[in-house]
Symmetry: C2
Subunit: 424 residues, 2 copies
């Protein structure tokens, strides 16, 4: 086992679904590590996430120019690759943890920065315990990220604000389209958005209207049991009153018994159902029961990669949690996560706090009932107050030839030091 070394290296990995601003967190980690060269060595990024550590595929971020690292601020998706690989418990899969230690030891890694959501917080927590459990000293800091906004102990999750902005803007635009043609054409428009078991992203669609009278007229939250008859009555009444009806439906919308409106039938590596197809399901319902002409859109990856319309607030926060993660590590902390703390007072202010990972892992923060209107189809003033600051500011990427321009990273792997390969 290595001795405490004042300049041990850091491992950084992206985990789970990517966001429009996850690379801003990477930028925060790398730039802050570079600014503290006396205390921290190389930042080695896992190629395709944690499996890059298991396979000893470590990207030497030291080979990237400062401009390329800065360019991460406007680059969507996962610049180093991400994966959905859930580490089981130490008891269930000791071999994976021992392999991690082997690789970390070989590359003198003393800091583990894991950029992910709830499942990743759990992995990060397990890694933070390698010192006690297996005698390998490491500090593990979780860098929060999830478009679903379902992480506890942080006011919001980096990644969510940009998706919220995309969904709010897109809903407003599409609603205007429907409104301008509803007299003779489409009466019902359905936009399906992500969010899994939490309705935060769907709620963001609610920002498109200034109040409950404006589109979207119906939001379907996973938190509110779907009632087919009530839904159809609401849609019909809205078309009769307003002339058209705009619906924002969460992919996680479900019946009272927990059945998803559209379960694609497949499961991801974490065992979660792969959702999709709520919009066409609802469209079919509307047409067969009400007979209205409809259109539907499924934003899917478009929403979570839409860096072109990222929220400046979200971008700032994504960078800040990356920076804070390194600062916490340098201060000797372990098993923590930088959290976004909302200030008191009318004007939105935020700062970075610190949350213990043990309380973060594997807990989903759903929409509180008080954020959902009494009839279950809209958002309340309290929800608007919470959501609005998160979509403030337009952080446009630079363009060349009509398209966003992203930095070209070298993504050079450090030479492997272990003889043995490891199959993931």
């Amino acid at each position: 086992m290595p001795q405490k070394n004042p300049r041990r290296n850091a491992f950084y990995a992206q985990s789970g679904g990517v966001t429009p601003v996850i690379n801003a967190s990477a930028c925060g980690v790398i730039e802050t590590a570079r600014a503290n060269r006396g205390a921290i060595g190389k930042v080695l990024a896992g190629r395709n996430g944690i499996i890059g550590a298991l396979r000893e595929e470590l990207i030497n971020t030291g080979r990237e120019t400062p401009a390329a690292i800065r360019g991460l601020m406007h680059t969507p998706a996962g610049a180093f690759g991400s994966c959905r690989h859930k580490m089981k418990s130490l008891e269930e899969n000791r071999a994976e943890y021992e392999r991690l230690i082997e690789v970390f030891h070989a590359h003198d890694i003393g800091y583990f920065f894991y950029n992910g959501g709830g499942d990743s917080a759990d992995t990060c927590l397990k890694v933070s315990q390698l010192g006690e459990a297996l005698g390998y000293p490491i500090q593990a800091i979780h860098v929060p990220k999830t478009i679903d906004n379902d992480l506890p102990l942080t006011d919001n999750s980096p990644g969510f604000g940009s998706v919220a902005k995309y969904v709010a803007v897109s809903t407003r635009e599409a609603a205007m389209d429907v409104a301008s043609m509803c007299e003779t054409s489409t009466k019902v428009f359905i936009l399906e958005v992500m969010g899994r078991h939490a309705g935060w992203i769907a709620a963001a669609g609610g920002l498109a209207g200034e109040g409950p009278a404006e589109a979207p007229h119906v939001i379907l939250f996973p938190e509110i049991a779907f009632d087919r008859e009530r839904f159809l009555r609401k849609v019909d009444a809205t078309v009769k009153k307003v002339g058209y009806c705009v619906i924002v439906a969460s992919e996680g919308a479900q019946y009272a018994d927990g059945t998803f409106l559209a379960d694609a039938g497949t499961r991801d590596a974490f065992g979660h159902a792969q959702l999709g197809g709520v919009a066409p399901t609802l469209a079919h319902m509307v047409r067969s029961e009400l007979g209205y002409k409809h259109h539907w859109a499924v934003a899917d990856y478009l929403q979570r990669s839409a860096r072109h319309i990222a929220s400046q607030t979200d971008l700032d926060q994504a960078y800040a949690v990356g920076r804070a993660a390194v600062e916490f590590a340098l201060a000797g902390h372990n098993a923590v996560m930088p959290a976004i703390v909302r200030g008191k007072g009318k004007r939105y202010r935020w700062s970075i706090g610190e949350a213990p990972l043990a309380k973060v892992a594997n807990r989903e923060k759903k929409m509180p009932r008080r954020y959902i209107s009494r009839d279950g189809f809209g958002i309340t003033a309290a929800a608007r107050e919470y959501l609005t600051p998160l979509i403030q500011g337009e952080a446009y990427p630079p363009y060349a030839d009509g398209l966003p321009r992203y930095p070209a990273l070298k993504l050079e792997l450090v030479p492997p030091r272990l003889k043995q390969r490891f199959d993931v």
Copy 2:
């Protein structure tokens, strides 16, 4: 019948599917008319398009402030409402034309500006003949607009460039998302785009990659007969070679016998099939035949209302055709359409020309074969050369509170002068 009056009023209407920049054409018409107050009276806009004329629901644009009219430049959808109402021939529906004349006569309308696509060009042509056929003097100018880019005699159609930019940007962003997670997650991503029988919008997705090796790896054009086996072989080979496969599919993709991949079974007022659902159809094919994990998105109205990422070139051209329409009218022309003319030479230049409506109406301009790669799954260098200038420049709308801010129009109707109502 009224005598030639030096200050007769103008009628302006939006027709068919709206675009991110159709209101810029309205702005061009209204501002140019205002700049020529000595020669042209009020601009009366049809509420919900041509049916506003039939119903004598005429919006007095003179009541709008210059700032509100300028605000049309960044407002998506149809600010005055649009409709899909095809006027039949004079022989088939003389009553509608006589009603139009009644309304035009009552409001001293001598100019007819019709902002639409191919079907509307046909209506505009018929209106232009009212002088000869029914003795009512009117000048009818068609203002071109269609996201499908299928109008003949103009190098491109206003509205297309912005949708092309949206699709190219979104494809690039989503492709990066897929690339960064394909090692353990989604291998095949399908984006369904609009375009009807023409593959122009799908082709724009091809701009996302710098060359044929980059995503999107497969584009499905309506112009190329869909061959299930060839498609699946191409997808499989791409996943095996690149690690993932991004597909941009036109809603109009069809088999050799003309059957659409996904015909929703409903028809619009023009008798066209209402398309949708190509992406899930392809996704099902990929999963059942190849077994790859997939995701799919359907952009639907999001693409044609996405003013937040409009092309500056497109916006400029949309304004220019509106302005030119009024100038042509003032010069005494009839039955014409301002057309966009591409200059010779390497650097992209455009100017406004004039096309006779008789040659525009009811003709679809499809993608030429030389714009489609030999294997039918991509675009050629010639297509890139044609498309790239059209997406240049980012014409961002102003934002307030994180969302685009649009002008509040009064949309005041002029008092009706006719006793009789008319049912459309």
